[in-house]
Symmetry: C2
Subunit: 482 residues, 2 copies
Amino acid sequence: MPDDQQSGAAPIQPVLDAMRASLGPAGVLTDPADLAPYLTDWRGLYHGEAIAVLRPASTEEVSACVRLCAEHGIAIIPQGGNTSMVGGATPEARPRQVVLSLSRMNRVRQVDTADMTMTVEAGLILTRAQQVAAEHGVFFPLSLGAEGSAMIGGLLSTNAGGNMTVRYGNARDLMLGLEVVLPDGAVIHGLRRLRKDNTGYALRHLFVGAEGTLGIITAAVLRLFPAARETATALCAVPSEDAALALFRRFRAADEGAVRAFEYMSGQGMRLVMANIEGAAMPFATPGEHYVLVDLSASREGAGLRGMMEEVLEAAMEAGEVADAALAESEAQRVAIWRLREEHPEAQKRAGASVKNDVSVPVSAVPELIRRASAACLALIPGSRPVPFGHMGDGNIHMNLAQPEAMSATDFLARSHDIMDCVNAVVRDLGGSFSAEHGIGRLKTDMMEEWRGGAELAAMRAIKAALDPQGIMNPGKVLPHA
Amino acid sequence: MPDDQQSGAAPIQPVLDAMRASLGPAGVLTDPADLAPYLTDWRGLYHGEAIAVLRPASTEEVSACVRLCAEHGIAIIPQGGNTSMVGGATPEARPRQVVLSLSRMNRVRQVDTADMTMTVEAGLILTRAQQVAAEHGVFFPLSLGAEGSAMIGGLLSTNAGGNMTVRYGNARDLMLGLEVVLPDGAVIHGLRRLRKDNTGYALRHLFVGAEGTLGIITAAVLRLFPAARETATALCAVPSEDAALALFRRFRAADEGAVRAFEYMSGQGMRLVMANIEGAAMPFATPGEHYVLVDLSASREGAGLRGMMEEVLEAAMEAGEVADAALAESEAQRVAIWRLREEHPEAQKRAGASVKNDVSVPVSAVPELIRRASAACLALIPGSRPVPFGHMGDGNIHMNLAQPEAMSATDFLARSHDIMDCVNAVVRDLGGSFSAEHGIGRLKTDMMEEWRGGAELAAMRAIKAALDPQGIMNPGKVLPHA
């Protein structure tokens, strides 16, 4: 936190003037109407205050801003696309703080298809990064719902996951090097395009996932991959959670590298999608309580994924692990199948209030997680509707709960913390995590003591104090107030 | 460094007695003959001192040892298989320090083929880890020359690389969770078997590659992979360094996931192997100045790697990128081809003195690195023999230099630092790293200021001071003396 003893009394205007001198008038917003969109998250759940929004256009300008803030004890909330699910990019209600938007730092500095790397700035929007890769004939595999707004800096700062993590890993695994402005304004020039570099502590891995509390990522070297030459997508009705896991194991055993996504959906979730999303249609008649979406891809010509898919599904049907399945016969059908999965959040929203639990467990424990957490939620709130869905291949299930039809949204949401505790008790028992891909932000700082307390949290606090002794970087996020 | 002001005068015997009470008599070695193998590295290049070697058999015992050392200002050198190339596990000549060997902590705690994870202790030898995976029908892909001695804890502490990094990544990428004893004896219980877990700073990534200077890794969760059902291996003579890179790009484009290893060797290196290694034989008659070893594997039944290999090589020959090639027709031939690569270090040793440079550059710059560094070395020491070889697919070349036949080993080795500087100047110009996979240890601490100085080294020092304020963990390694 800014030290008000030292600097609280100092007037803010001269600092803003100095920032305007650095960034130009377009680089410093102070009009309340201009500030508003930066002070609230996209879902309108979190609000905060700031004396200004800074919009630097270069690493040097970020450094100059941070240096001025450090000198004057002004806190900084770094912000990319502002798509956090946990309030990670929204300021709290505190005095003497600014939002620092990376949106003007959106250049592609280099693409190298021999190295298979792309060096980009923090403000580049994810879909643009995907496009740039495609224009060079290669593939950048990070993909998630918010990709039209989310920016590379925020995606790395939160170690974003998404739909293809089972094959390509999290954002962390797609990053080779970082450029970072530290809390004193010093710059780490770590944009190394190297696959191997064992020269001291892996600082880049510390900034990834730190949610802007240790410094500001201003640019990154990202890994690229050969484009897919073949894909195969299927929706399957399966008789149980265990059958879904068994099917995942079958595909993984059949071809380790082919499984690009393996997503679980419940009958409840599918019924919500059918009832609330226009044009959504099941590709087969068999009703079910459990579904999986399998997406295969290969960069190899003539990989024969379609044949492999059919063989695996046939064997699984014989073993009673699949009740029905539909293979996409066209790109339109592929999109339609994916839409059933991707409209889950929207369908839940239209069906009323819901409480989201982004949790993970060891892959082997996913069936038990779904069964036990669903039962526990139903026991806690009779009539509520568990809607578990998500990345089964990563052990990451969105263990969401939709409100009972006979209950008011307000009454239901008043139980949010009880519901989260109820799900988390199961997750904990299964050796899981209370935040798989959304991070901590403002929402989950209170859980850190219970889940990561002791030596782990103490080490995190020591590192925070060492790199940001004034506590000016994204205060109130990740670490609970001491 | 231990604070001698506070504790230097305190007698050591009561501390050793307390350790014996904790670890039992077999857990504390003090006889000089027993200590000797722990005080020298395997090549006999580094030597040091210690008052005892501690051999704890459990995490609790490691914690008890570290707590006693912290209380009495005794420094600790963690040691696994003692196979460091840079003196990372060998003590310096200092008073009041102990070697802490992890060799008795060698249990496999869990193997789960649904999760595809294996939880093992730090003292498990790498070949044993590979065997355990194979016994469960799966594959642990870390593989390197020292695998018969190197232990998991050391391999993670140094973020080891090896032969299959191009496909599976470094040791870091094979790790999901860690158990770590901190410099005050507190234990981080981070053995989470999770593919996704965004809950605060990624401490595990800080301990990986820290070479034991921030704490002691006592156990780890490792990732497992489906076993290969098909492999294909070839040795190729190629006309130039550029042709070698072009061939790598061809294979990567043909099938992103199939390339398990892509190794470069020079004509000079091959001639040294032929002259010095009994039974080594070239699989074709065409002499060449450049060779590559390609190793493909697939977990898929009927993947047709052999056909793919032939197609790619045929196209490369037509394009003038391959002069001759031999495909392994049997496991014996596969082993024989790999032996040509793996005997490079032994062949160099038998040919006299050599200076090793474990460097990396962006993959696209490997041809230029080999040409420019070789020319620079020849200009520096006429008659010397550059022997570049290694992991072209990772941009990691062992840019070694063998002594001139007409020079004494002593005279040649006296130029070691000039040679390293000469190679590193080229590496630096190409945006590379002075240590790709061997780490810093004792050998390269002096280079840290030049290469990682400024904000990066300052941040590393701040983290070191935060987690190990007494400086008792592996002093003199990684970070240069301030």
